[in-house]
């Protein structure tokens, strides 16, 4: 029988927060080892150039410098990308050949071409300045459309063009759909380069000895995946490769999922020098190299019937992937998934999506929360808005007409959506906004020269990705895994293979396990991050914590109950099994006579400290590992967001007066943690959609390499975010829970853009490009007025 405690659903305070708030967090830069040296990079100052000479003599001669290597010194390690570290996606893929340091040619500003190892960071930076590099600049290509031109400069001359990846995704009969359409909406949408910028930058610390092999402390979302890729690349036995994500990591947002060239070098240098080698990326390097995502052009067409039914979609997507020299995702895995998720919550039967991913002389795209779909979500929810306007239809009505209505649903391109309720979510969003009255208020405001607007977006967000999808795509499993293990004192260690870094696993896993075992979250401690002590798992990515990992913990805890009941019955000298006991308040309690009870701590003690008291023949110990795999090809969270704005047309400035997020967490484990995920996701979405942009000048110099120039919003720049639960439990997880980390930012750009355009209806403005800076809005108003 299930336990009777109900920690699930309670907003208990996070176990993680005490140490984080008082400064007891344990981050990578806090780790110091004897004989440790530090590593830093000489990076290209040109966007594209031949390296004609590198003089390292002066740097190498500086006291305190241990070594200086250039590309030639690491060529023997081989090219970084293998079959294991390149996505195996349908379509045509080209694979760049490159080394941890660039050899002969650099392809973006920031490209690492030499590495210096020194005794301390001051000496290191002195030495980096002494490395003298001579360049012969080459023609550059920065614009993805230019990259497609036959005469465009080539990043990889042997390719014959700059196309990294191409994929055509057809479904149904789009030509017939467009022939039958009463209305065709056709628009070009552009989403700029923006993404994630975690508070803690990348970093690693590699230590080697020939006995144990290599240990790498690494800021990573995926210790196990990195481990096997590193072992493969470094050509060392898997048993000699250990990866540890430190206890705490200051965010990742996708940027710490790839395998990076710098990490490979730290390992190589630790082996070469027989000293621990540490690297902590500085903010400039971070802004130069990671977190650059989105960056797509969509030429999108919708075939619409006059009742608002969308019967077809065509989209030509062009993604600017940068130099494509980052392992695992290689710049194109994100746009691919974005294309697969393009139609998202809309039930559109006839589809023709053509995705082209090109390389340019910019940093490689890295994953950013909402993985690949931020741009497409903006494009589609904008196009739907344009269709509604053309048909004089309410934006909510057109969405409800086209939203997925029955679950499970398989989209035209094959995405499985298990559960959700769009009508219910829209109803809550509209009620919160007092939508009917808002339209009256809006008309009155227009008459008084004020511009108020409301905009909606809807989304189907990934809640983990199953093995069925991940194995063929990325050669890795999707299952969740957890080991639940009693200690001798009745406390429970849960070991997971993921590496949480803000998601709250220590709290939420403790809550679910406490319920399963009749304990308190205080009794549960969660460990993670070390490949030598946790089970193999794919990592903290794609909203798989609350969907997969936590479900594995539930199943593993449940699996202990028969043995616990047997031990309890034995101690009570009665005949009874699992169904005769309830586990509650720290006791195994006999249901038919509640006075008959055994402390769970006693059961654990017998299982571990005094196994002589176990039932005859029973194996000692009380632990179980479960691998959870959902019996479906896809679990999702279905959400509706709405923004209400006031625009000041003289300057294009605007205020997001309200932001309402109606979100589906299935069964929230800790509603406060869910709200935190949504707040963070909306904040990131607003930053990405409205303020942040990685800007390159005409020479390929990135102009936004400090946080003075790359504008991440603070609380002062953000509206109050109203979160409303509309939960539809997933039928495929033991508790009905769904992941909430990944998708939220993707909801934001269309909601805000639709609201701005709605407010400016009297001025006839059409928004097609991001970011939504006041200047862009002002220019659109100016252009609309000069047309009149």
């Amino acid at each position: 029988m299930a336990s009777a405690n109900a920690w699930v659903g309670q907003s208990i305070k996070r176990k993680e927060d005490r140490r984080l708030l008082v400064g007891d967090g344990q981050y990578l830069p806090d780790i110091v080892l004897p004989r440790m040296v530090v590593m830093g990079f000489v990076r290209s100052i040109y966007a594209h150039a031949k390296i004609t000479a590198i003089d390292t003599a002066q740097a190498a001669a500086l006291p305190g410098v241990r070594t200086v290597l250039t590309g030639a010194d690491v060529k023997h390690l081989g090219s970084v990308l293998s079959d294991m570290s390149t996505p195996n996606l349908p379509g045509e893929t080209k694979r760049p050949i490159f080394w941890p340091l660039s050899i002969d040619e650099v392809k973006y500003v920031g490209d690492p071409l030499a590495v210096v190892v020194a005794r301390d960071k001051y000496t290191l930076e002195d030495a980096l300045e002494l490395v003298d590099v001579e360049y012969d600049p080459l023609d550059i290509v920065l614009d993805p459309e230019h990259a497609l031109q036959p005469d465009a400069p080539r990043l990889y001359p042997d390719w014959g063009d700059n196309v990294l990846y191409h994929q055509h995704i057809p479904a149904g009969d789009p030509d017939a759909a467009f022939a039958q359409a009463d209305l065709v909406v056709k628009e070009r949408f552009r989403c700029h380069r923006t993404g994630g910028q975690p508070m803690e930058t990348r970093g690693c610390l590699a230590m080697y000895n020939p006995g144990e092999g290599l240990t790498l402390w690494l800021t990573t979302q995926r210790p196990h995946i990195k481990r096997h890729l590193l072992a493969e690349y470094l050509n060392i036995p898997h048993s000699q490769m250990r990866v540890i994500m430190p206890k705490d990591m200051g965010g990742a947002f996708g940027t710490k999922a790839p395998l990076y060239r710098e990490e490979l070098l730290a390992c190589h240098l630790a082996m070469k020098l027989r000293r621990p080698v540490k690297w902590v990326e500085n903010r400039q390097e971070s802004l130069m190299n990671v977190g650059q995502g989105r960056d797509q052009i969509h030429e999108l067409e919708l075939a619409v019937k006059k009742d608002g039914t969308i019967i077809g979609l065509r989209d030509r997507i062009l993604a600017d992937c940068g130099d494509a020299r980052t392992a695992i995702y290689v710049g194109f895995a994100m746009p691919f998934l974005g294309a697969m998720y393009l139609i998202n919550g809309y039930d559109i039967p006839n589809v023709d999506i053509d995705l082209t991913c090109v390389v340019t002389n910019k940093a490689c795209l890295t994953p950013s929360r909402a993985f690949g779909s931020f741009a497409g979500r903006f494009a589609l929810d904008r196009a739907v808005e344009l269709a509604a306007r053309a048909l004089d239809m309410d934006p909510v009505e057109i969405r409800l007409k086209n939203a997925i209505k029955t679950f499970p649903h398989v989209s035209a391109v094959g995405v499985h959506v298990d559960s959700g309720d769009f009508p219910g979510s829209f109803a809550k969003a509209c009620a919160a906004l007092d939508y009917d009255n808002f339209r009256k208020e809006q008309s009155e405001a227009w008459q008084n020269g004020r511009y108020l607007g409301v905009g909606f977006s809807m989304g189907v967000e990934i809640s983990g990705v199953p093995s069925e999808v991940l194995v063929p795509m990325e050669r890795q499993p999707g299952f969740g895994v957890a080991t639940v293990q009693f200690d001798a004192h009745g406390k429970v260690q849960v070991a997971e293979g993921d590496s949480p870094h803000g998601q709250g696993h220590e709290t939420t896993i403790a809550q679910v396990v406490a319920d399963e075992l009749g304990l308190s979250p205080e009794d549960i401690y969660v460990t993670y991050g070390d490949t030598h002590s946790g089970p193999f798992a794919a990592g903290t990515i794609g909203s798989r914590g609350a969907s997969y990992t936590l479900s594995a913990a539930v199943l593993a805890a449940r699996a202990l109950r028969p043995k616990m009941a047997n031990i309890a019955a034995h101690l009570l000298h009665i005949e009874a099994g699992e169904d005769d006991f309830v586990f509650r308040d720290g006791y195994a309690i006999l249901i038919r006579d509640e006075s008959q009870r055994v402390p769970i701590a006693k059961i654990a003690e017998v299982a571990l400290l005094s196994p002589t008291e176990l039932p005859p023949g029973m194996e000692a110990g009380l632990e179980h590992t479960s691998h959870f795999e959902a019996e479906t090809a896809g679990m999702h969270s279905c959400n509706v967001h709405a923004a209400q704005v006031e625009v000041f047309p003289e300057t294009g400035e605007y205020k997001i007066v309200r932001y309402v997020a109606v979100d589906d967490a299935g069964q929230p484990i800790n509603p406060m943690v869910v709200r935190g995920q949504i707040h963070g996701g909306v904040a990131m979405g607003i930053g990405n959609a409205c303020m942040e942009e990685f800007i390159y000048d005409e020479n390929g110099q990135q102009l936004t390499t400090t946080l003075l120039d790359y504008h991440i919003p603070s609380s002062l720049d953000l509206p109050h975010i109203e979160t409303i639960e509309h939960n539809v439990p997933s039928p495929h997880t033991p508790l009905g829970s769904k992941g909430k980390g990944e998708g939220t930012p993707g909801m934001v750009p269309a909601a805000v853009a639709n609201a701005l355009e709605d407010a400016l209806q009297p001025l006839g403005v059409k928004i097609t490009d991001l970011p939504l800076t006041p200047e862009r809005i002002w220019k659109l108003i100016q252009a609309a007025q000069s047309k009149e």
Binding site: D126, L716, T773
Partner: protein, 291 residues
């Protein structure tokens, strides 16, 4: 992001000592006050001083008081002090507005007014505000003398100011405003606490009947340094500040203050912000003047 090694670090306790050190090390020395510009520049190795003269132990350099018809603000007064000082809130709200707009709490707790003015960033908050108030800098010289220079003249261009290697700004002086004066400051920036795309400071004196006797309007966020909108201010003088006049002043300011494109905004957008913001700021200043 780690500075080059410095040869010398001094922490003098009085102005005379600072000046002696400047005389000895001036060419290679940098003065450290709040460090909000110097430290980032050193970490980026855009500044590589051999000698740091830390002013934070110098006594009595952070006083804020009125004396002989002038407000004295010590060179080391922190932005947070200026933003919250009762005397400044009461009589120089324009200055408090500007101070409150700078950076974030950490920056405001460390950054100093003289540091900001000497650094001379054309998009910083203080320069237009202090210019609108006709502020002057009192500069101590190594030879024992002092000179007083109007901020208008002191600011020479982007990150350039009229300060000698052997000189120290000891205080800022601002004339006590006439009766029925008021000022206001507003900034447009991409995120809160960022440098200005455009900022506008205005200081207005009204006569008892509400007619504008004196006006000054200064625009920040333009090159090479904050610009006075003299014609716009001239339009206001001797007139009642009604809405059409304010609109006219906005137009005039947008016309006379030259703007440039940069990564934050285009020249045209900057001009538009001037056009829109000047009337708003003047209106707020005149409201305060009437209070």
């Amino acid at each position: 992001m780690y500075p080059r090694a410095i040869e010398n670090y001094f922490a003098p306790t009085d102005v005379a000592e600072v000046l002696t050190l400047l005389q000895q090390h001036g060419e290679q020395a940098k003065l450290l006050a709040g460090g909000q510009s110097l430290m980032p520049l050193m970490k980026l190795r855009l500044a590589e001083p051999q000698t740091i003269i830390d002013l934070n132990q110098v006594a009595a350099l952070d006083d804020i008081r009125e004396e002989n018809g002038r407000l004295h603000i010590g060179a080391l007064a922190r932005h947070a002090d200026v933003a919250t000082h009762p005397l400044i809130l009461q009589s120089y709200p324009l200055l408090a507005d500007a101070a409150r707009n700078i950076g974030d709490p950490q920056i405001r707790n460390r950054g100093t007014i003289a540091g900001s003015l000497v650094h001379a960033d054309p998009s910083a908050d203080y320069p237009p505000a202090v210019m609108a108030l006709d502020g002057q800098l009192v500069v101590a010289k190594a030879d024992g003398g002092t000179r007083t220079v109007a901020l208008d003249d002191f600011l020479a261009g982007p990150l350039m100011s009229d300060i000698g290697e052997d000189e120290l700004v000891t205080r800022i002086e601002i004339p006590v405003p006439a009766a029925r004066s008021g000022g206001a400051y507003a900034k447009h920036s991409q995120v809160a606490g960022d440098f200005a795309i455009i900022s506008v400071a205005a200081h207005i004196t009204l006569d008892p009947s509400g007619i504008c006797q004196q006006a000054s309007i200064v625009v920040g966020g333009v090159m090479p340094k904050p610009g006075r909108a003299g014609q716009a201010a001239g339009l206001l003088q001797g007139k009642a500040l009604d809405a059409p006049l304010l609109t006219q002043a906005g137009e005039a300011a947008a016309e006379e203050v030259e703007t440039e494109d940069d990564v934050r905004a285009s020249a045209a957008y900057r001009s538009q912000l001037i056009r829109v913001t000047v009337p708003e700021v003047v209106r707020q200043a005149s409201t305060r003047a009437g209070e």
